[in-house]
């Protein structure tokens, strides 16, 4: 993963603020992105993800605050920076009748250093579409082309904004695989998403942003442990003594039962292990056993009091 020793920060953002008219898009946003990690800015639509990302890319200038990326000031050094970063934008389009190879060829001509365009097109599974017009590509193919364009200059940092929005689950998984591949080649990935599953599967670290403010930063696992220690076990058993035995487990907080179906709530890392130990020590025969673990979606709900899907 290219993360030997202490990873140095590739992006440093401190206290940026950006307003559009009277609307405050982001305020007091600070975070760091380390070399070789996939860093995700997550939050609902309109939370300030894209604005923050565009400030780091040098496309927008924050009203206040400081940003350093690869040691450069993104706004002042935007043209030098563009040679070293790759960008995929939300809701971008290309000319309807531009061919896939023409787009890649044009992009390749814009940078001083480029990777092999043919290989890149092949790696992204677009070889069969080389001569297809942009307008005839599917959503997934368009996104793969945009990833190819973002990678053409062999960038050190890759920006991916809402990469899989609007894609079907299968294309989404394929794209995730591609993004992991980018990181495994030693590049730093800075992405935004409003899909918590995507963040959880893909990101090494996430920052949760809401109403233009960052409310939490950490690894997905850390955030879940810290904010949602609750665990649930669902099991089914016909054993008459089961309820009594299960109640003796120290980490169990509640046991509810409907016929042979039990729902156990508890907290902490050891909860599931203790339930399994209890079942085995008492030779309780179960016909079903499931765990329900909280995820980033629950963390978001806990922190903001509302669901990210609202």
């Amino acid at each position: 993963m290219g993360m030997s020793g202490t990873p140095r920060p590739v992006i440093e953002v401190s206290g940026i603020r950006k307003t559009y008219g009277r609307t405050v898009a982001v305020s007091e946003v600070s975070f760091e992105v380390s070399e070789g990690e996939i860093f995700g800015l997550i939050g609902p639509n309109g939370a300030g993800k894209t604005t923050t990302m565009e400030c780091v890319e040098g496309v927008r200038r924050p009203d206040r605050g400081r940003i350093s990326i690869l040691g450069l000031d993104p706004f002042r050094d935007v043209y030098r920076l563009q040679n070293r970063i790759g960008v995929q934008l939300q809701q971008a389009q290309l000319q309807k009748r531009i061919k896939v190879w023409e787009a890649v060829d044009l992009w390749a001509s814009l940078y001083t250093k480029t990777v092999d365009a043919g290989r890149l097109v092949e790696q992204l599974g677009l070889s069969g579409k080389r001569n297809a017009w942009f307008m005839t590509l599917s959503g997934g193919q368009k996104q793969r082309l945009f990833i190819a364009l973002a990678l053409i200059n062999d960038p050190e940092v890759v920006f991916l904004d809402e990469l899989t929005t609007g894609l079907d689950p299968q294309s989404r998984r394929a794209i995730w695989e591609l993004v992991r591949g980018i990181r495994d080649r030693g590049k730093t990935v800075f992405m935004t998403t409003h899909l918590m599953e995507e963040a959880e599967r893909l990101c090494d670290r996430v920052a949760i942003i809401e109403h233009g403010k960052i409310i939490e930063i950490g690894t997905p696992g850390d955030l879940v442990r810290r904010h949602c220690p609750e665990r649930t076990v669902l099991l089914a058993t016909g054993d008459a003594l089961a309820e009594e035995r299960l109640r003796t487990i120290p980490s169990v907080e509640s046991v509810t039962r409907t016929d042979s179906q039990f729902t156990l709530h508890g907290k902490g890392e050891d909860f599931v292990t203790e339930v399994i130990q209890c079942l085995s020590e008492n030779r309780i025969r179960v016909t079903d056993f499931r765990t329900v673990l909280p995820n980033l979606e629950d963390v978001f709900l806990k922190l903001t009091g509302r669901s990210i899907r609202d």
């Binding site: 496309v59 563009q82 040679n83 389009q93 290309l94 009748r97 023409e102 044009l106 001509s109 814009l110």
Partner: protein, 249 residues
């Protein structure tokens, strides 16, 4: 600074020709109209009046050229606004491409198409036009390029700020068509009321028409340096302004 200019220009020409009606509407149609109107009037030539012959000799060719230039401007305004609305400009912004390069590429595309249309008109004119003329083709092509280039910079300024494609055509038309009416092609400048005459004097198309007519009729370039100067001035002002007000989205 102009990295990617030639590639983008060539690409935009190809993309334009792939549009349904792209080649036909912008290159063949003007030539067809020019030839048909010429033949229609030419067929009645023996009974035609002197003004009609004058129109055929100078008015129609110059008018056709001006219309080609204007259709190029309108098409430029439309394309840039479609690119802006569709997020294509947004995507290009995140590359080392500069706005000037994108604009320059589109101007070059329109100039190339104007030149191609012009060449076809000369060929078609030699074969089908009712009046045989001895015209300085090279000089006229130069005059047309300078005029188109200057008028395109107005298009560029409009394209820099027009918010959506839906407004592009009407706004472009509202600015350009009054210029056509006052440019001296239909009504001689001297017979305009003083107020309109003053307006016509500040419209760039007036100078374009004066230059085109003059060169078409075989006058010397030295007699039209004022026109050239005015057109270059218009180009300089519009380019400087559009670089200031250019909107990516």
């Amino acid at each position: 600074m102009l990295r990617g200019l030639w590639k983008l220009t060539w690409l935009e020409i190809k993309i334009f020709l792939r549009e349904p009606m792209g080649a036909f509407g912008s290159i063949l149609l003007p030539v067809l109209v020019f030839v048909l109107v010429g033949r229609f009037m030419g067929g009645r030539l023996p009974r035609s009046s002197a003004p009609a012959i004058g129109f055929l000799r100078v008015g129609l060719p110059v008018f056709a050229s001006v219309m080609i230039a204007l259709s190029g401007v309108l098409s430029l305004v439309t394309i840039i606004s479609i690119y802006r609305e569709g997020g294509i400009l947004r995507r290009l912004r995140a590359t080392p491409l500069r706005p000037q390069t994108i604009l320059a590429a589109h101007v070059l595309v329109k100039l190339a198409l104007t030149l191609a249309t012009m060449a076809l008109m000369v060929l078609a004119g030699k074969r089908y036009y009712p009046i045989k003329m001895d015209v300085p083709v090279f000089g006229f092509a130069m005059a047309l390029l300078i005029s188109t280039w200057s008028v395109l910079s107005i298009g560029f300024l409009i394209a820099s700020i027009v918010p959506t494609a839906r407004f592009a055509q009407p706004i472009g038309g509202a600015i350009l068509y009054p210029m056509v009416a006052l440019c001296g092609l239909f009504v001689p400048l001297e017979s305009l009321p003083p107020a309109l005459h003053a307006v016509a004097r500040v419209l760039p198309l007036t100078y374009a028409v004066s230059l085109l007519q003059g060169i078409w009729m075989g006058e010397a370039w030295s007699a039209h340096m004022g026109d050239v100067l005015a057109l270059v001035l218009v180009f300089a002002i519009c380019t400087a302004l559009s670089a200031k007000v250019f909107r990516w989205e």
